[in-house]
Symmetry: none
Subunit: 146 residues, 2 copies
Amino acid sequence: MLDNLKRVMENGKGVNVEGAVPSEQEVNQPKPAKRARTSFTADQLQVMQAQFAQDNNPDAQTLQKLAERTGLSRRVIQVWFQNCRARHKKHVSPNPSSGAPVSSLQSTRLSPLIDEFQYTAFAPVDTPMLTALHSYMDGMLCGISL
Amino acid sequence: MLDNLKRVMENGKGVNVEGAVPSEQEVNQPKPAKRARTSFTADQLQVMQAQFAQDNNPDAQTLQKLAERTGLSRRVIQVWFQNCRARHKKHVSPNPSSGAPVSSLQSTRLSPLIDEFQYTAFAPVDTPMLTALHSYMDGMLCGISL
DNA sequence: TTCTAATCAGGCGTAACCAC
DNA sequence: GTGGTTACGCCTGATTAGAA
């Protein structure tokens, strides 16, 4: 309901890309204060994922270092790790994958795609490659190796 | 009703390309304002089509760049790409009799997914592979060779 | 009429938030 | 910290409506 109205606002409005401060708004304007949604760059994601693979629950100091390195705020980093832990737990745990399974979640969408490659004429993909892709999918969510 | 509100918001922010500017309207005076219809110049079309040929689903940053380059609003650009994808899907897809084994696959959901591959630290996928994937996706359902 | 820019209704993933 | 929720951003598919 109210969500719809907000979606309308989105239409004409600008973008927020970098982890920088979105924008200041009028004090005298009792706006609903649009919640800012950070979109991470490839670089930032890579840094965070690398750290996650090594330690999925970094301490405050590490968090700070990541913040400096990515240019994001400590809080954003922290939230990302929280969400990533949650995602990982939710998607990987309930599916205690053994040998070479495909996670039931996202692969649903990807699998049919990958299959396509076997049919297509110019797909430079061979079967081992597909296997690699599949196992990759398993841990992809946060860039974690199982 | 609510529709009017939406229209007012968009009109206030958006750009009216054609000279056809209806007068300014009070917010609290709901008049069914005319829906603005942008007509693109040859230049603008060329820019967008060139991008489409290369990537039919540009990300936010690319979208913004296109907006700056064409002088159109980001939203208008975005809508054009949405419509263009739909058009091509409708016109090209129902005729799969050609050489390309293109099926129901959608590049849309895939692109961000594929991008993930680049973010991950331990991706067992090398770059040439990614490039191949990308060109596969791009040329697939838009089949345009502009 | 046809073509298509703009809108609507709905779904998905997930960053940000909240309660505990 | 966690699990659960909210809402933002982006997408599709169908539809509405402005112009050629």
